[in-house]
């Protein structure tokens, strides 16, 4: 059970108010028509699935309905940091298994 800080509301709220929306920082191809099948498939379907630190997108669905980012450990479930859309994470993985490709 997570107790999550919404950076927009400036408050901690229970997990039920939020939805996890998967991997953060996915960049949409600038020219989608120029993508080959592999690049397009990877953009649509392939997600980082680290055993360790994960940067992910969340929405405060039953609150302000705004998106924000979270860095979380997928094994201990510890929330390492919350940061706004457009910002970069400050807690990043150092080792191979923890996730950065």
């Amino acid at each position: 059970m997570f107790y999550i800080y919404c950076p927009h509301c400036g408050e901690h709220r229970e997990e039920e108010e939020f939805h996890a929306k998967g991997q953060a920082h996915i960049v949409r191809p600038i020219d989608p028509a120029a993508c080959d099948d592999k690049a397009w498939g990877e953009y649509l379907f392939f997600r980082k699935n680290p055993r360790g630190l994960h940067h992910e997108l969340w929405i405060h669905a039953a609150g302000c309905r705004k998106f924000f980012n979270m860095t979380r450990d997928t094994v201990t479930y510890e929330i390492k940091e919350i940061y706004k859309i457009g910002e970069q994470p400050s807690v990043v993985a150092g080792n191979k298994l923890a996730g950065n490709k």
Binding site: M1, H19, N49, P50, T74, V75, T76
Partner: protein, 417 residues
């Protein structure tokens, strides 16, 4: 292998059951195997069994980091059915169903497969249209199925609230009489015992920590306990940890690992002799032979490898169950747990070659792979034996996420389990 029988039971009772043979050996590994299976869950063990039995390949090791069946196999809610929408998946799950029907005899091990029927409830007009479409598709594929109205459902499950006085009244259901449940750990143990009898080595408490790849082909695996063990072919069958093995091999999978929770109640007298699933209110329930209500629902939406989930998910599940069965509202829960499920974007598995030669993957079964255990092992064994994917496995290539030939089973098949 010591065969089990009623007579054996009688004979061993004379020596107070102290002289039963061990169910499998605890071998020291060889330096090299023809095939190494990573992951000793039901699917890995079934693969090893059919490799030996159907293809005569017995120089095989199953490497398991914990104990056999300790992953999702012995954590699941054991629902078995084959009423999937699309031809590719319907064929695969029905192939498994046919193997289930003779499995206890084949393994000489009672997997307690009980064809008590599975109901998938519909609560909206769209649910009912989907159900009708799916049952028609099933019948065209030779899979048993019927569409029932609330009155007929009530006859099968008298304690369920089939009235109009609910938030989402039950409008009908699909009914697969051949569906049911099986005892999950017996499935793992039965396959392990069968494989062991052919000489397959089961290496428990041994983790694969890296792969040995030379010139684009796999030649062995590195373990934490025995160093490098060589192999001609390697099959990875590690469910939620598939992304970790793929990373060792240097490619990505379109798989995300999520916690999926389940729970059982205190044991009560027999009250439910079938399986009830609802996609819309989202919960499912059956009763085990011990008397516990076995309950589950959906994944926790965030990625996780921790084999546990959050409380709100349990609460939503219980709301659905109590809505369907008001009579269960005072029953207390006994235990609750989680597994790590490997979900794929199209809710179908990956049974596939990989960019690394001689390395094969079987994963992505997500929330619903228990029912496929014998079928999955059967087709994966054929693929590992010949080096070419079995025709039933071919559509489940990992490259479908590049060429677009997805097999969309989302929701189409009732609850995702």
């Amino acid at each position: 292998m010591q065969r089990y029988s009623g007579f054996g039971l009688l004979k061993h009772s004379l020596t107070h059951h102290e002289n039963w043979q061990r169910v499998w050996r605890n071998p020291t590994p060889k330096k090299e195997y023809d095939v190494i299976i990573i992951g000793g869950g039901g699917h890995g063990l079934a693969t090893a069994y059919y490799l030996a039995k159907e293809h005569g390949i017995t120089n095989v090791a199953v490497i398991e980091k914990g104990y056999l069946g300790g992953g999702n196999t012995a954590r699941n809610t054991t629902i078995v059915r084959s009423n999937y929408l699309w031809d590719e998946s319907a064929h695969l799950y029905e192939h498994a169903m046919k193997l289930w029907e003779g499995l206890s005899q084949d393994l000489n091990y009672n997997v307690m497969f009980s064809q008590r029927g599975v109901l998938n409830l519909g609560h909206t007009l769209q649910d009912m249209r989907d159900i009708q479409r799916r049952v028609s598709a099933n019948r065209l594929n030779g899979i048993d199925g019927e569409v029932l109205d609330p009155q007929q459902i009530k006859e099968i499950v008298p304690h369920m609230d089939c009235s109009d006085n609910t938030r989402y009244p039950i409008m009908g259901a699909s009914w697969q009489p051949r569906g049911g449940v099986a005892r999950h750990d017996a499935v793992a143990w039965g396959f392990a015992r069968g494989a062991d009898a052919y000489g397959v080595d089961m290496l428990q408490e041994t983790e694969v920590v890296d792969l040995v790849i030379e010139d684009g082909a796999i030649v062995g695996v590195k373990t934490n306990k025995y160093g490098v063990i060589k192999a001609g072919r390697v099959g990875s069958v590690v469910a939620g940890n598939s992304g970790v093995i793929a990373k060792m091999a240097g490619f990505d999978l379109p798989i995300e690992s999520h916690p999926l929770q389940a729970m059982v109640s205190e044991p009560i007298k027999p009250i439910l002799d079938t399986v009830v699933m609802s996609n819309h209110v989202h919960g499912y329930v059956s009763q085990s032979d011990k008397g516990d209500l076995v309950i589950g629902a959906g994944i926790d939406g965030w990625n996780g490898y921790g084999q546990r989930g959050s409380f709100p998910t349990i609460e939503h599940t219980m709301q659905a169950i109590v809505e369907l069965f008001p009579i269960f509202s005072r029953v207390r829960l006994n235990r609750q747990w989680g597994g790590i499920v490997d979900t794929c974007p199209d809710a179908c598995p990956i049974i596939s070659k990989t960019p690394v030669e001689n390395l094969f993957f079987n994963c992505g079964w997500g929330t619903g792979g228990f029912k496929a255990t014998p079928g999955s092992g059967h087709v994966f064994a054929a693929s590992l034996a010949t080096g070419e994917m079995h025709p039933m496995a071919k559509p489940f290539s990992m490259f479908r996420f590049h060429d677009g030939a997805l097999i969309d089973e989302h929701g189409a098949a009732g609850v995702a389990h």
